[in-house]
């Protein structure tokens, strides 16, 4: 069947503002939107700019807005967005990050926030000769948070970031939670200043847009709330100890 991809284009060297361009193309219902974009690029218009790599939802390169939802182009099938042919599918870059070209956004701000939560195991005790022990239950406590591929879909979906551009954002909190909930990690106090800042975890108001957008099925909103509870519990124990 034929579908129309309505793609938002922007080239900083020639354009002052973005514009939409229609591409009419034959597509199979089982194809990925990324397959269709690649065919446009290789056979219709080589100037179309987008990122891609693994093509099966594990590298996080091709997050974009498809019909207004933040998704991976390689995890969205044509039949998910067009059933009958002749439909128009809207393709736009992610929000809350500057567009560098067409569907390519500058993720510097996203990765800066990720780095700010110290996303690495903090444990100053020397490791044993073999592995550090961890029970299966302790391991599963942070399981879904380890799935994050840093694609920025949640960052784009977050309604808080529309008004407060300095909010830490969903992915960075998930990445912090991944370590806070790891029985081997001792870095809670080191991460606290960033998480407990006014732009840290607190601006989140449970809209659940991040959870809906996550292509890795992470319960992001829940993890943010759990992080808030950890901070509150810590503050309570601190004040009781005084």
């Amino acid at each position: 069947m034929d579908i129309i991809l309505k793609i938002r284009r922007f080239n900083p060297e020639t354009d002052t503002e973005s514009r939409y361009q229609d591409f009419r193309i034959e597509a199979e219902p089982d194809e990925r939107i990324l397959d269709v974009l690649m065919r446009i690029k290789r056979f219709q218009d080589g100037t179309l700019g987008f990122r891609k790599s693994c093509a099966h939802g594990v590298c996080g390169s091709d997050a974009m807005r498809i019909n207004g939802k933040d998704r991976l182009a390689c995890k969205t099938l044509v039949r998910d967005v067009a059933q009958h042919g002749e439909e128009s599918v809207l393709i736009e870059p992610l929000r809350h990050l500057p567009v560098e070209r067409d569907l390519i956004v500058d993720q510097t701000a996203f990765f800066e926030r990720f780095r700010s939560v110290k996303p690495f195991l903090i444990n100053k005790e020397p490791p044993p000769e073999r592995e550090r022990l961890q029970s299966p239950k302790e391991r599963m406590a942070f399981d879904d948070a380890t799935n994050c591929i840093l694609c920025s879909a949640c960052f784009s979906a977050c309604p808080i970031l529309e008004e407060n551009q300095s909010f830490l954002g969903p992915a960075a909190v998930v990445q912090a939670f991944r370590f806070l909930a790891d029985s081997r990690d001792k870095g809670f106090e080191e991460r606290l200043p960033v998480l407990n800042a006014s732009d840290g975890v607190w601006p989140c108001q449970n809209h659940f847009e991040c959870t809906r957008a996550c292509p890795r099925a992470i319960k992001i909103t829940k993890r943010i709330n759990e992080t808030k509870r950890m901070i509150e519990a810590y503050q309570k124990s601190q004040s009781e100890n005084k």
Partner: protein, 578 residues
Amino acid sequence: MKHTFDAIIVGSGGSGLYAALEVSAKAKTAVLSKVYPVRSHTGAAQGGISAALGNVEADDPRWHAFDTVKGGDYLVDQQAAMLMAEEAVQAVYDLENRGLPFNRTPDGRIDQRRFGGHTRNFGEAPVRRACYAADRTGHMILQTLYQQCIKNGVHFYDEYQVLDLALKDNQCAGVVALQLSTGEIHVFEAKTVLFATGGFGRMFKITSNAYANTGDGPAICARRGIPLQDMEFFQFHPTGIKGLGILISEAVRGEGGILRNNRNERFMARFAPTLLDLAPRDMVSRAIMTEIRSGNGIRGDRKIDDYVHLDATHLGKETLQSKLPDITDFCKTYLGIDPAENPIPVLPTAHYGMGGIPTDTHGRVVIDNKGTLIHGLYAVGECACVSVHGANRLGTNSLLDLVVFGRRAGRHMADYVNHGDPAGIATDATDFSREWITRLTAKKKGPHGGRIFDKMQRTMMEKVGIYRTETHMARAVGEIQTLRERYMMVRAEDRRNAFNTDLLELIELGNLLDLSLITAVSALNRRESRGAHSREDYPDRDDPQWLKHTLARLEKDDVGLTYKDVDVSLWKPKPRTY
């Protein structure tokens, strides 16, 4: 723009990041990567990383080394395999200590599972050797190493495409790279350079490889006169999702999954009576293609796109969800089926290049049979050939290769920068790169790369695939040579500077064409069947003639071949049965 470092790492997958951690602690280091580091294809590795920890049953590094040698059909350099198996144990503990969230046994140790070709006591029965984190082991390794790089302040140049290597006599002087965001050409002067650019599976039509896997490092080395080793050995993974090539981990069979034909028969019982579905990948892929050709595929029409079933329905929802969650997700997303209820339609998919830039066990690039080095130049991971995988890699040994040899190369580089003087980069170092890009972006009419890309992938898939013959491969060589001529006329439609991904694709295409030619010529010349190189006209392994590594040199439009000895100092080659 010109930059000066002690050490440059090209590539930010598992091996590049591990090397970067080691060398950056002691020398001024930068990592160049065509993608953001967490996007590298190491992240797509699923099933596990092998090490004889013995956490769930008795194991021994010597058994691991032997399995690696036999799995590689005796083309493995045996001391290198032994070293990898021995260092595997500490390497896995190091990853755990750095935070990697392995699945655990009830007593809190790293859990281990079965994988193809890994056995106890030199082939007796399958052994649980693969340490794993669900079916996302590669993702966890990549994340853990990147986390450590952040902690240690490693300096990254993200989205820089390497274009060329600068050599001065037999010494490395640096690299030339294209900054994708601006189109600017940069010179990175360095005493030592490591290529860790990953695989080149995109030369084939159906592949598990990422778009980024275009063999940039090996292609650059080949154009600079460095031979590539054993390029005829390319592994087809038995279980890719039919039509798409997306990998369905061997861990599905490690957990008990079974391959079945249209009679619902467990056909591997006929091909590998002891290891059954856990035989090495080359054998399972051939078994699948043999079934399909005999009319035993699910459709039964004997066409090359017929398929077989991977049955995991008996594993139960709980095992699938806890140990194979991503596989379950892929099946639901791309096939609309739940593997707990329906068998998965699978077909072999181009997966892993055993060959690459020849190195020793420190990652140093060695260019001939006499041990001649390119001083300061290193390669690790899939782009390199140590050779620990020989003619066919065992599952889980790729992640191990990255970690063990990434660390060894990084340490050796850190030491190397303290000795001798830098070669100094020549003023004309960027000439080749500039001419290449100028040609591709010239305001002239020329064919676009899309059709050439498509034709190259079809040629390699159909004529240099699982089963090979003289006639087909000779035709492939001719076709690839024609495509390389047409490539000289190709022009990018996009002539802008910022994020010119059209130009990037053409650069990648040029690399893949060079590697396709080398692969096809190396394969055509090897008149035997060994591991993944399976010839219908020479069906047997021929040790007297062919127990040797290929060294293939790109000589303009042709490829010159010489050969190199295999280290068989530990185990005498024997027939390979399972």
